[in-house]
Symmetry: C2
Subunit: 381 residues, 2 copies
Amino acid sequence: MREVAVIGIGQSVFGKLPQRNVVELGRESVWTALKDANMSPKDVQFAYVSRLYDAMVTGQTILKEVGIREMEIVNVENACAGGSTALLGVWRNIALGVYDIGIAIGVESMTTSPIASKLIPPAKEDLEGQLGMTMPALFALMARRHMEEYGTTVEQFARVSVKNHHHGCLNPFSQYQKEFTVEDILSSRMICDPITLLQCCPNTDGAAAVIMCPMDIARRYTSKPIKVAACVLKSGNYAYLQDDITFCPTDYKAAMEAYEMAGLGPDDLDVVELHDAFAPEEIFRYEELGLCNRGEGAQLLNSGATELGGRIPVNPSGGLLSMGHPLSASGVRVVVEIARQLRGEAEARQVANAKTGLAHMMGGAVAGLDVGAVGIQILTA
Amino acid sequence: MREVAVIGIGQSVFGKLPQRNVVELGRESVWTALKDANMSPKDVQFAYVSRLYDAMVTGQTILKEVGIREMEIVNVENACAGGSTALLGVWRNIALGVYDIGIAIGVESMTTSPIASKLIPPAKEDLEGQLGMTMPALFALMARRHMEEYGTTVEQFARVSVKNHHHGCLNPFSQYQKEFTVEDILSSRMICDPITLLQCCPNTDGAAAVIMCPMDIARRYTSKPIKVAACVLKSGNYAYLQDDITFCPTDYKAAMEAYEMAGLGPDDLDVVELHDAFAPEEIFRYEELGLCNRGEGAQLLNSGATELGGRIPVNPSGGLLSMGHPLSASGVRVVVEIARQLRGEAEARQVANAKTGLAHMMGGAVAGLDVGAVGIQILTA
């Protein structure tokens, strides 16, 4: 396997953008990434593109506008881990020597989609979903159980949202640009007890793109290549009865695989971007990714370790809660953010001396209690 | 690159099946393929799954029911070439040694989809589509031009449909099971001159699955492994102005790449399954795949060469016109059919002594005059 580098990163603005369609958003991310890699469209040899809603040959539709044509273009989907799936396709084809230069794109226009206009509807085939186990309900159950098992409090969940909204205020790409207090979070409209509105990520339109190539030619394109030390995609077990709904075993296993592939452990990480679609989730993910022991996620948050300036800042971008969550784009966007951090280009939200980072995304709860897919990348400067 | 074999094939019934959802259709194809490969679900190491409409983690939703869990599952989409894209993912990962056993699945429930209930609507981003360049209009323009350039007649287009419906009567999986005359075809309702209703493929629900492994272990699972001699996926150029709309250069280039990869030429083929969504198309594809010279497609048809019993039977299954076209399933289904032929298991529609076959699927016209993606596999017994 060849060593692979991220050599170009790009993204569109994130927000509610009903006047901009998928092609415009995607194209903006691609042009930014090409410019970042000092590269012409003609240099790109293949593409993996992710979009969930109203998708048909989205990649081709975006890339023809840029002049990237007549090649292998694969459109992928894996719910919120769709972007991670596009990254896997590009990374592996380069690692195995099939191609030298590829682009991974994630894009979503939730606002203009006729079918994404409500919260993700449960599929007709999803019995639990049809019975009411929607995403907020699922995360509310997990949150309640974490409170019961470990004494976690609603204030601690709210503090995740306070932290990430604070980070988002330092990020010009963030959809929200507003500080909130614990009281603001808890007094916002109840969605599904204990989850209030400001503990939910917003609906977002946006796109992100990442260009990769073998490390040994990366310096032709950039002075700051970022090594992809691990790239993992794992689908769930879907056990209807789980021992502990506060801990996703698939997420844990994916993280362990990624650490093994990178030859690194959680203590080596300087910065993490992870899936915080609902505020309580961030605490579960700390535990699954091994940033702390099981049951100690709230303590890790309380300690300040995961804030900017702390030992291991989590979601310095603002995360899904503040930055926004254009579903298929988010898996690519977390790699864009980690690469920015490792290059030292994250400006007001820069994590000092960040050399190693982890990008995480997950999605597609099928049977309610497990996950459709988890994508994890570990990057090093 | 390791040599890869098809060791298991399966499909659901094809037809209008409003009482059966995507999970049931997909599961039927997977169980059939597993049984065909004398294999347990536990033997499968990864999956690529294609579905166009209402897609979210479709692969996971189908495979959890079968007990194929906790692995890499990638959902792909490439319009009618989605199934070909799933096959590419499985083939390449095995060829390059990432995994040993994988399954490619294509599935579509057009009948139960709220958004597939009409003919594929043009995307909002597709200017030509919005201006009326729908699929039947596009193929009608090509057909008229072929008539003008080469003297092809409407009766010849109708004869494609007569041939494929005749083949379909010999195939228990076919949606139609009815013979038609040239007069029947031409007197059916006009859709877009010169294309009448019986020159259009129907909307279809169905699924197909293919299991592959390295050739050197294939005989553990089957006495009749079928070698994948070539596997190509190519997206179009999308030139707004083409020299000749009767000839798709991307389709031609994909075919030439496949022949080169296999070390074979069109004269070596014993049987072909190709994209005949509209009857005139089959004549264009003869020319692009090199089964005859450019402009001589109608003569090839007239000669009887492409009928069962002829020199190079095309669409012995009945093709999309008779068998039906569940979009993402069709790219997998053509490989199922070619594998059946090469094993000598095609019963009433068996092509005598078939040793080499080509499976073709294409789809997703983005700018009207070129194609979103072409997928081609060459298989040998």
